[in-house]
Amino acid sequence: MDLREKIGRRGAKLFEDGMLVNLGIGMPTVLSNYIPEGINLTFQSENGCINFGPAPGEGYEDPYLTNAGAMPLSVLPGAAYFDSATSFALIRGGHVDATVLGVLEVDEKGNLANYMVPGKLVPGMGGAMDLVTGAKLVVAVTEHCDKKGNPKVRKACTLPLTGKAVVDVILSELALIRVTPEGLVLEEIAPDTTVEEVVSKTEANLIIPADGPKVMEY
């Protein structure tokens, strides 16, 4: 299993039957490949669609029907279209049950930075700030360390924030960490790692449960 599959499989188990879910672009979309049997989810695309399906076959694309990354979509029975104000009324208004977003940095307070690196990369926040503010469950999925090996789970974010105290769960290929008022609790570790490795690759202070973290199941 590669890193994405590990995160996808474990992350998909965080959903409960019947949830309305919005997945960010990139790694978060991988979760949709591994939804457990018996869990029926409704997906939202913030550009104005609910209940969409996979990309249509070649020749069946509708130029007016895409996801938030401009890739063609199909729709499932029960689908609905709406304008951007309505789409964000759903998001900001607390009607979206869960969102999964990527990470540049995440920290001990559940702060998330994922939309810009000043002077280097400024794509903009798109819908991310509204999603972390409005969704009931905010899951941050990430490689545990960046390409240079620096921890992405920090004591305090150094980059501009996407949201203050918004993240509920941090999921990487090594660990599942829950954000609590007491701090970050190391709830689960991957079968191929150790508490010591996770702690050494995490800048934030981790609270280790008395009976140790569970071993992650895929």
Partner: protein, 215 residues
């Protein structure tokens, strides 16, 4: 009745320095024929209110390549590298808004409200310079309305009364922008005499001009 005009006439409604709104999300649901006419006319120093700047070869992205904006109010610029380059070079003022905040600012501008408080953006760079108030037990930012001299929309279908019907995710920002422009131009794929009232998404009383795609 909405007047049917050409894309060149639609582009001539604005002059250097004006503020425009353009519907669309990464170019989907944007008025492509009118945008091409605006590129041809070459008006400069515009302020753009739009979700994004699409791609370099698409929709508002073409106007970015043609350096027609002095300021853009958007939620995302990551799909058009030239936008980022102009921003970094100090040639373009980019005001990034959370997408829901952008939609709601446009909505407020068009429906006679003086702004709104939102929890989105608290504790982020978006908060800078804004009033913060605790409402419903939560910190919230005050956001102001947005309006424009002309809103340029795209609909799948329009009728001679200006009624519009969008298709799929091509709807996006178009319905709120229909309220927020002093003048409203809608480019349509199909123009009919009249529509079933049940099919109307944007009532025609808001729409001043119709342009047929490709004309």
């Amino acid at each position: 009745m909405a007047r049917v005009i050409t894309s060149d006439e639609a582009a001539a409604l604005i002059n250097d320095g004006d503020t425009i709104m353009v519907g669309g999300f990464l170019g989907i649901g944007s008025p492509g024929t009118v945008i091409d006419a605006m590129v041809k006319r070459g008006v400069k120093d515009l302020t753009l209110v739009c979700n994004d700047t699409a791609f370099p070869d698409k929709m508002t992205g073409k106007m970015i390549m043609n350096k027609q904006f002095k300021k853009i109010i958007v939620s995302h610029i990551g799909t058009n590298k030239e936008t980022g380059r102009q921003m970094t070079a100090g040639e373009l003022d980019v005001e990034l808004n959370p997408q829901g905040t952008l939609a709601e600012r446009i909505r407020c501008g068009g429906i006679g409200l003086g702004g709104f408080y939102t929890p989105t953006g608290v504790g982020t760079p978006v908060e800078e310079g804004k009033e913060v108030r605790v409402l419903e037990g939560r910190e919230m930012l005050f956001e102001t309305p947005l309006t424009a001299k002309v809103s340029y929309l795209k609909a799948a279908k329009g009728d001679k009364f200006g009624n519009l019907r969008y298709h799929a995710t091509g709807m996006n920002f178009n319905p709120v922008m229909a309220f927020a422009g002093e003048t409203v131009v809608a480019e349509v794929d199909e123009l009919v005499d009249f529509m079933d009232p049940d099919d109307v998404h944007t009532p025609g009383v808001l729409v001043d001009y119709i342009v047929r795609r490709g004309r």
